[in-house]
């Protein structure tokens, strides 16, 4: 029982990280229908910014979090401005290939600057509480609470603010939005800033939980978070959260029941099965065929 509860905690921690990265994916996809394949690498940049802020500048945790999020958001906006904007009217697949290219570029650029894995020092004192045999660490608490706050905040922005309204309108019809007097460029830049900022925050959260970071860490985690977004129904904020936790759960419990080498196998097979039965994800809305 305690063991299962302990695994549930692990699941919550891992799921929260996946969920926050998935939110960034879903944000950009939901607004632009663009799979930003560089998102995993923006997450990695977030973790490295966190490393710099912690190990080199010795900043306090909250400042580290803000620096990582804002720094990554700035890089995300720059990537949009330089690489994606010129391709806005090009075939969608050109933009996706560009995104892949940007991802490979970011990975290897970071690798060239920092060839070795880095160890991120502790940002918060790690306190553990014992609750009837169950060990809860402060890090786990911070990660879970932070992810919930981020989700609620994003949900609020998208549903209730005028900028969120403009984003939803952009997703529906990018050609008509300027006729309302809205600058499409500004809204897209904002979308990327938020999406990348979430990646940066997730990078910090990851570095708290798993302090060894390297330039390639974003590839696999990025793809998995993407899958989480798809499982939930890409474009749906609540779906991304749900998908993140589901993936976290599947991976945690697969690792419990089977040798760890089966983890990916189980996760991806489940994904395939799910997609066959719900091709648009759990909370995704099927697009009606227009004839």
């Amino acid at each position: 029982m305690v063991y299962i509860s302990q695994q549930l905690l692990n699941m919550l921690q891992l799921g929260s990280i996946y969920a926050v990265i998935a939110l960034g994916y879903t944000m950009v996809y939901g607004v632009l229908s663009l799979i930003n394949f560089a998102h995993g690498d923006l997450f990695m940049i977030g973790a490295f910014l966190c490393f710099i802020a912690t190990a080199k500048l010795h900043l306090p945790f909250v400042v580290v979090l803000v620096v990582a999020a804002i720094g990554t958001a700035a890089i995300g906006m720059a990537v949009e401005r330089l690489a994606y904007r010129p391709l806005r009217d090009a075939p969608k697949v050109s933009a996706i290939i560009t995104a892949l290219g940007v991802g490979v570029f970011i990975e290897n650029f970071t690798l060239a600057l920092s060839p070795y894995p880095r160890h991120v020092p502790e940002m918060l004192p790690n306190v553990s509480w014992n609750l009837g045999g169950l060990t809860v660490s402060s890090i786990q608490g911070v990660i879970v609470v932070l992810s919930v706050l981020l989700m609620v905040g994003l949900d609020f922005i998208v549903r209730k603010t005028r900028y969120g309204m403009a984003m939803r309108a952009l997703a529906w019809d990018i050609k008509t939005l300027p006729l309302m007097g809205v600058s499409v460029n500004a809204i897209i830049a904002l979308t990327f800033a938020i999406g990348a900022g979430f990646g940066g925050a997730a990078g910090t959260m990851y570095a708290m939980a798993f302090p060894v970071i390297d330039p390639y860490m974003g590839i696999m985690i990025g793809w998995k978070a993407f899958i989480a977004a798809v499982v939930g129904g890409i474009g749906s904020i609540r779906g991304a959260m749900l998908g993140g936790y589901i993936l976290g759960a599947v991976e945690t419990f697969a690792a419990v029941a089977l040798p760890s080498t089966y983890r990916d196998f189980i996760a991806f097979t489940l994904l395939l099965i799910l997609l066959i039965f719900r091709p648009n994800g759990i909370l995704g809305v099927p697009k009606t065929l227009k004839v």
């Binding site: 309204m165 309108a169 529906w172 008509t176 300027p178 006729l179 309302m180």
Partner: protein, 238 residues
């Protein structure tokens, strides 16, 4: 007092190798309804898109004496030109209320006015009033057209470009929409109206332009065009 609001000079638009507009010139007089008629593919919608900054063009478009060439579409809106695009351009994932609010994007500093106009639109289209909280994708074609026109009123432009407001509407509903357009015009808004339904459009308008293959072939008072044998033969089907 003929006061030129919009002046188009030698306007050309191309999509790749295809020329949609070839050197069009005409003026729109403030306070009038100008009808633009012509067959499918004649370039009517391209002309509206050029005016609202959605496509690049050659030539000159002057609004209140200022050349708007090269301006971004959202900047052109801020000058007072509102475009109701073909197919209505409703944001289906937004509610009716959000659609109307979004159209007042640039009027941040005028919440009083926005509120007044919102109430005016609801008054004008009671059917929208019943559905303010509904996703606009669930509206019928006629209601969507009303919403599109309602949005134009929320933007409070001085010039409204209407692209085929009667498209896909039954004759009964089209009548209603034309009545509303007339009302808006009487309130002092200038209108450029593109229509397939040439008969109704010319009856409603002060001035008319006929386009063919990207060129302006005929221009004159709407009443005269209604009696012109060429127009009658090709566009009115009589």
């Amino acid at each position: 007092m003929a006061n030129v609001l919009l002046s188009i000079k030698n306007l050309s638009v191309s999509y790749g190798n295809i020329k949609a507009l070839r050197g069009i010139s005409f003026d729109i007089i403030e306070g009038q309804i100008t009808a633009l008629i012509g067959a499918n593919g004649a370039g009517k919608s391209s002309l509206l898109r050029a005016v609202s900054g959605m496509v690049k063009f050659d030539g000159e478009i002057n609004y209140r004496g200022r050349n708007i060439k090269g301006m971004a579409a959202h900047k052109i809106v801020s000058m007072g030109i509102t475009h109701v695009p073909e197919g209505r351009g409703i944001f289906g994932s937004l509610t009716v209320r959000e659609n109307l609010t979004l159209a007042a994007w640039l009027r941040r500093n005028d919440p009083e006015g926005v509120k007044r106009d919102y109430e005016h639109v609801i008054e004008l289209f009671p059917r929208l009033g019943e559905r303010v909280g509904q996703l606009s994708a669930t509206l019928s074609g006629g209601e969507q057209q009303m919403l599109a026109i309602g949005r134009a009123l929320m933007s409070k432009g001085d010039l409204i470009l209407l692209d085929e407001p009667s498209m896909g509407l039954s004759p009964v509903l089209a009548d209603e929409i034309f009545g509303i357009i007339d009302e808006i015009s009487k309130a002092g808004v200038t209108i450029l109206l593109v229509e397939q339904n040439a008969f109704m459009a010319l009856q409603l308008s002060h001035h008319g332009c006929v386009m063919e293959n990207g060129e302006l072939t005929l221009e004159g008072a709407a009443a005269e065009l209604l009696d012109d044998p060429r127009v009658r033969q090709a566009y009115l089907g009589v």
